[in-house]
Amino acid sequence: MRNKITFIRRIIQIISLILLVYGGYIFRTRLEATTGKPLFPILKPPEGSISTTKFKKGSILWPSGTNPVLENYPPSLICRFNPRGGLFKACIFHFFSENLTWQTHIKYLLPHLTLFILLCFLFGRAWCGWICPIGSVGDFITVIRKKMNIPAKRFPSGFASTLKLTSYGIMGITFFISTLIGFPNFRKFQCYWFLPYCQICPARLICPLFGLVKPNWKDFENIITSTFTILAWIVMIIFLAAFYFGRRIWCHLCPVGLINSWFNKGSCFELNKKSIRCNKCGLCTEVCPMGLTEMYDKNNDGVYNQSGCIMCLKCIEICPKDGCLSLNILGKKILESKFK
């Protein structure tokens, strides 16, 4: 089983990347011709409010893309600024940020939220490990590092918690700004403060590259856009460094991953451990791209879906003991570790 799971995961990552990035380009015309109308409510800005379509070319929020196939928001970091029109519209963080500003009525959000919660309930953070295109890009960087025989850096045990706390901070600030600029007295700030996190998100710079389009990487129109441009560069450097030096360290900081992590422990996918079979070799901790140690530290039987676990299943793949670690779906065993 060694490397087999990783191989399947890589294949799924590539297929997901193609679908999420080029899905709109491939299927849009055909789907529109079949249905003629959207399956979900199309969320549009109210009168006097701003949307990405209002930004001019060259501006940091100029949407270089075309319309997506589904006006939905999956639990994966797929970007609105995708030049080919992806399978989905944008990530869930974009959804919250945008609609807080537009003050969209909750009834129009409910169908989108239902789909999002269903996907989270079904797959938990497996979205991060198997589907997310930005995670796939990160894994590709990790592969390059491995080819260059550079070992991954080990970070202190509290580092992941600090990153998670930072992620909560980013989320709080983003939602606060997004809500504030939705009020009539603050609408004049929308042209610069709209989608504050998207302006600095690495996906905004990476996704256009998939479509061979130059991303809007510089906008020095005024002090605010200049600040966002510089912040975007800094975050991009952090993103590349995080994947290069520390495997999936970025995923601790990702706000979309943070939202997914709330559902991880209750999702249909369960990572089980039978402690009696564990020989404390520590290989599971060694291979974990998120640097999680609970699987090794704890001696209890049970479900080990920690909030940080991206379900890459490398621990099951590497575990040398028969049936020590297993993947269950709603209690039914699908996969287990085997002696090699």
Partner: protein, 181 residues
Amino acid sequence: MKKILITFLFISVYIFCMPGERLSIDFTYPNLSGDFYVNGKMSFPPDKILSEDNIIVSDLSTNQEIPTKITIIERWIDGSVLEAEILFPANTSKQKKYVLIYGKDIKRRKKFTQTSVLPIVNASIGKTPLSTESINIDVGEMLIKVDKSSEIRYYWYILPISLLLFLTIYRTIKNSKQYEK
């Protein structure tokens, strides 16, 4: 528990695969409630109107013009309007009839340029001529049939959301207990 869950998943998948809007071409919109926009394309004979301002939509009961957003799609060879896209707001509070009036002497006064966050009903207004030789234009009174049902079309989603959140929390607590003991 598992059977309930699987049944629920099947139902959810089925619901998500269903089309969200049910609109027939004669403006019957049985499941919509509240404000919405009617959007449709309309064809005109040659040399009848020159610009989008020569078209108005008015409420037949009050005879008042209603705000419209009109975009010209195609013109006849003489420059007059062949086809235009018309968008106007409607409400399901009561059944209403709208009339579309056009002509060179008509002057549109009420316009809107930006749409609010409302569902858009895409419908065909009139018929598009196949060619300049065979023009069959069906214009005049438009009837919008609506019912006064509650907004169950949107609010029923609270049920699966609650169920999913309940299941997630239940499973989280169950798994945490196993993990902590």
